[in-house]
């Protein structure tokens, strides 16, 4: 029913949903425990594998948390390039989601066009980082690969191709198509108060009119590039779609801005020693919403505790309030509108 291993136990009256219980636990991997047993440097590669889509943001968030704990100053160029990669991962995640969302509504051709546009972004990732999704480019103390001038030009070129493809195919359809609107407008309503109270994050929260985006805190280089969250106030599936679509364009702008503002210099610093005793919280904005890393060091090369609160984890309670009262045919659409990632949720 869904491309995710979640079991939603629905209670139906004819085709109307009256109750819902989520059952997860099919792909629990114990990554938090593994994070305590691994040396803290290798954890970067571990946390990247929490999710196959927002992988880079996980690595970024973990690295920044450890850097904050160890009081390491990362070179500015590294921060800018981290921003680029994290925005690239946002674009491809949103496009993947948009494709699946269209597919859930039975709109296969839009699905294919979204993934076609996504391919350009993945090519950029492969070109700049060496791998398409799980890039393994962020390390504690900086990054491992530089984006030089020629490559930056090539990235800009590909991004303009990307924008053209989006402008011609995906955007007009999503903005105007009456059948898409019929399936999404007014479905899965979540008011501003509910969204706040239930701890919704990411595009769900912003689709309900709350201007909250962790990028506002200015981690990586968001302080230098400037950032305004994208907000839609309707709180339905369509609003969430539009938030994500606008974020794709915004991310493209952010990458271009970061590439032009990027200072010269080193891309990493050598970090010696182990994380000191102490605890640290760090948050980053993933494509799906805020991710919270809690780490506790104890002076050895292993961490005392690594806790990850992923965005889907926070978005399941809002989903539970959105579903009752809808038609069965809308369940896939509403469930997908939170962009569920169960692999993230269970870790």
């Amino acid at each position: 029913m869904l491309p995710e291993p979640i079991h939603l136990k629905l209670e139906l009256e004819d085709e109307t949903v009256v109750g819902v219980t989520p059952i997860i636990g099919y792909i629990y991997r114990g990554i938090e425990k593994a994070g305590e047993l691994n040396p803290f440097r290798n954890n970067v590669f571990l946390v990247e594998r929490i999710c196959g889509i927002c992988s880079f943001t996980h690595a970024l968030c973990y690295c920044e948390a450890v850097e904050k704990l160890m009081q390491v100053e990362v070179p500015p160029r590294a921060r800018f390039i981290r921003l680029c990669w994290s925005e690239l991962s946002r674009i491809h995640s949103h496009l993947l989601w948009l494709g699946l969302f269209a597919d859930a509504m039975g709109f296969e051709s839009l699905f294919m066009q979204c993934w076609r546009a996504r391919e350009i972004i993945l090519d950029i990732s492969e070109m700049t980082a060496g791998h398409r999704i799980i890039q393994s480019t962020s390390i504690i103390g900086g990054i491992r690969r530089d984006i030089d001038k020629e490559m930056a030009k090539e990235v800009e070129h590909k991004l303009s191709d990307f924008k053209e493809l989006m402008d011609n195919t995906v955007s007009p359809t999503v903005y105007n198509d009456p059948t898409i609107k019929r399936r999404t407008v007014g479905k899965g309503m979540l008011s501003k108060e509910q969204a706040n109270l239930l701890g919704a994050v990411g595009p769900i929260l912003r689709g309900s009119g709350v201007p909250l985006d962790i990028r506002q805190t200015g981690y990586a280089a968001y302080k230098e590039t400037g950032f305004e969250p994208i907000v839609e106030s309707d709180g339905d599936c369509y609003a969430r779609t539009i938030v994500r679509l606008r974020e794709i364009y915004q991310s493209r702008e952010l990458i271009l801005k970061a590439l032009s503002l990027m200072p010269e210099g080193d891309i990493s610093v050598t970090v010696r020693g182990n994380p000191p005793e102490g605890e640290m919280i760090h948050r980053a904005e993933q494509p799906r919403g805020e991710v919270v890393y809690y780490i506790k060091g104890n002076g050895t090369r292993n961490l005392d505790r690594l806790r990850v609160r992923t965005p889907t984890f926070a978005n399941i309670p809002p989903l539970l309030t959105m579903l009752p009262g809808c038609e069965l045919a809308d369940v896939p659409v509403i469930t997908l509108s939170i962009d569920p990632c169960i692999a993230c949720t269970e870790r």
Partner: protein
């Protein structure tokens, strides 16, 4: 017509119809793939699929399923035979209706929730298109003076210029029967959507093949009914081209819209379909066309 000729046409219909149907499904997949920017499967992929499915181990969730699968195929072949024999159009459509009931009963005979829901939706779907299909016969009968298909052949001039409103209503029916967006509600094209594959969820191996084969017959039959509108006169070749053109337009529609809900479908089919036909009957009776 001689008996030999009749037997010949029946044999040709029974053998050629699935070949055309399978080929059309293959071209459908290829064209859809191209519209989406993909390469797509070979045109005869559906025949490969069918042969492979027939070669699988037969498994059923219950005896009734087996009966209904075969029943579905035989009733549709019967409808095709009746059509080839130029029998009563009304009878052909009734047999087609019965075949649809078989599909629904087959889906409802197993306990899988997806199959059950698919069955319910298929019922609603029939509720949506059967009235149009049956009503569509009335203006044809009024025009040609009776229900037999022979009458259409003997009528002497093409029906479409007078009955294009009915024709449009039948196109809507064809779209529903082909299960293309926006009407693919009872069994989606892809197995990961909404209700898995709806009515087809619990079929596998040879029985799925039987149902697929029946779908090919059904597709060809409905296209042939659309072809009836041009059958006579010097423009007879339009009776082949028009259904194909309509079929192509439906493919495009499939690619430019989402699946909608059953409530919308019933409203749309009844609202638009029935009023088109009613208008047509009125116009024909008043002698404006």
């Amino acid at each position: 017509m001689s008996t030999g000729w009749l037997v010949g046409s029946v044999v040709i219909a029974v053998i050629v119809a699935p070949l055309i149907g399978g080929l059309l499904r293959g071209i459908d997949r290829k064209l859809t793939a191209h519209m989406q920017g993909r390469i797509g499967p070979p045109i005869i992929q559906n025949f490969y699929d069918l042969i492979k499915l027939f070669g699988k181990k037969p498994m059923v969730a219950g005896k009734p399923q087996l009966v209904f699968a075969w029943g579905y195929l035989f009733l549709i072949i019967t409808a095709v035979v009746f059509f080839a024999l130029r029998q009563d159009l009304l009878v052909v459509l009734f047999i087609l209706g019965f075949a649809g009931v078989c599909l629904v009963l087959g889906a409802l005979s197993v306990k899988s929730p997806y199959s059950q829901l698919g069955g319910h939706r298929e019922l609603l779907q029939m509720l949506a298109y059967e009235p149009i299909l049956l009503l569509a016969v009335i203006p044809i009968a009024l025009k040609t003076g009776g229900f037999p298909i022979t009458n259409i052949f003997e009528y002497g001039q093409p029906l479409l210029p007078n009955l294009w409103l009915t024709f449009i209503a039948l196109v809507i029916v064809l779209d529903i029967v082909m299960k293309k967006s926006p009407f693919d509600i009872s069994s989606s094209e892809h197995a990961h959507q909404e209700i898995v594959r709806g009515v087809l969820t619990e079929y596998s191996g040879p029985y799925l093949a039987i149902i697929e084969l029946a779908h090919w017959y059904e597709l060809v039959l409905l296209l042939a009914i659309l072809g009836l509108f041009w059958i006579v006169g010097s423009l007879w070749w339009l009776s082949i081209l028009t259904p194909l053109a309509i079929w192509f337009i439906l493919l495009i529609t499939d690619n430019i819209c989402t699946r909608l809900t059953w409530s919308w479908m019933v409203k749309f089919a009844w609202g638009v379909g029935i009023s088109l036909i009613a208008l047509n009957i009125l116009v024909v009776n008043l002698g404006w066309m």
